[in-house]
């Protein structure tokens, strides 16, 4: 068992795998445990960069690039902008649910999931639905499957993103002229001015 571990640790893939796993688990633990929103967000972004490393090891190059562009680029930037609306410098005070119970439940679910995944699979019965084409790069291969077999889900996803964009504008865009953090008397003044008109 231990020799096995050391042998796999010595290969490049194995070393990268163990390094990335340790770092992602540590970073995501910080995300979940930290009291400071800024620390949580930064460690989440770093963990997502490392997860794209997993995708590159697994040969899913295009997925790794999409992870970097969409998650680390777009979603984290969206969080960073949204944090300007909230007071993020203070530590958040939470009345946490009893920690012992949470860690018991989390540990139990981790144990069950690990046991399920470690169970032997009848892999002979599994056949590839859309097997990877030999001699074709990953991005090209993904494009060929995505734009033929998954065209309708792709279009539906596009419509869903449009709906999300419109709803985001509608929800956040209202009353953008008033400040959230200043005292509310400013709001009353604006109301009075409107009434005078």
């Amino acid at each position: 068992m231990f020799e096995n571990f050391m042998a796999s640790f010595m290969t490049v893939e194995g070393f990268a795998f163990y390094l990335f796993s340790a770092l992602t688990i540590g970073l995501f633990t910080i995300t979940v445990m930290s009291k400071n929103i800024l620390y949580a967000m930064t460690s989440l972004a770093a963990g997502m960069v490392l997860i794209s490393g997993f995708f590159f090891i697994l040969g899913a190059d295009f997925l790794g690039v999409v992870q970097l562009v969409v998650y680390v680029g777009a979603i984290m930037a969206l969080y960073a902008f949204a944090m300007m609306f909230f007071d993020t410098t203070r530590d958040i005070k939470e009345q946490n649910t009893s920690n012992a119970l949470v860690f018991l439940l989390g540990g139990l679910s981790a144990l069950v999931l690990v046991l399920i995944f470690a169970a032997p699979i009848h892999s002979n019965a599994i056949e590839a639905l859309y097997p990877m084409t030999e001699g074709v790069g990953n991005a090209q291969d993904v494009g060929m499957v995505l734009f033929t077999k998954y065209l309708i889900p792709f279009e539906v996803a596009a419509v869903m993103l449009l709906v999300a964009m419109i709803s985001g504008i509608m929800l956040a865009g209202k009353k953008m002229d008033t400040s959230l953090t200043e005292d509310l008397s400013a709001d009353d003044e604006i109301m009075i001015v409107k009434d005078e008109k």
């Binding site: 040969g59 979603i75 969080y79 949204a82 649910t97 999931l113 995944f117 709803s167």
Partner: protein, 100 residues
């Protein structure tokens, strides 16, 4: 050699971290972070299965999960901003107003 089981176990551990976050957090923004962690864990599992069974379906699902996560964040953050404007806090205990 690193096998499929290695990746699946790492993904299960990361998913459990996200689950612990969802269970123990009371701040809505932190709950969002925990759900992102869980979605990323599932993406690792899909990419690993796609690699070891030589099948592109897993990667396709990971793409759609990323698209869904992006739209979820856009709508969710809009709702968070509206809630913060209305209540001045993102704490779930402050927001609960349906106690009978």
């Amino acid at each position: 050699m690193i096998g499929l089981t290695h990746y699946l176990i790492v993904s299960a551990l990361i998913f459990s971290i996200g689950l612990v976050g969802v269970l123990r957090r009371r701040n809505l923004l932190m709950l969002f972070f925990a759900t992102e962690v869980m979605l990323n864990a599932v993406n690792i599992a899909f990419a690993a299965i796609s690699h070891y069974y030589n099948d592109l379906t897993g990667q396709m699902f990971a793409f759609f999960i990323i698209a869904i996560a992006a739209s979820e964040v856009a709508v969710g953050l809009g709702i968070l901003i509206v809630l913060y404007k209305k209540y001045g806090s993102l704490d779930l205990d402050d927001l609960a107003n349906m106690r009978g």
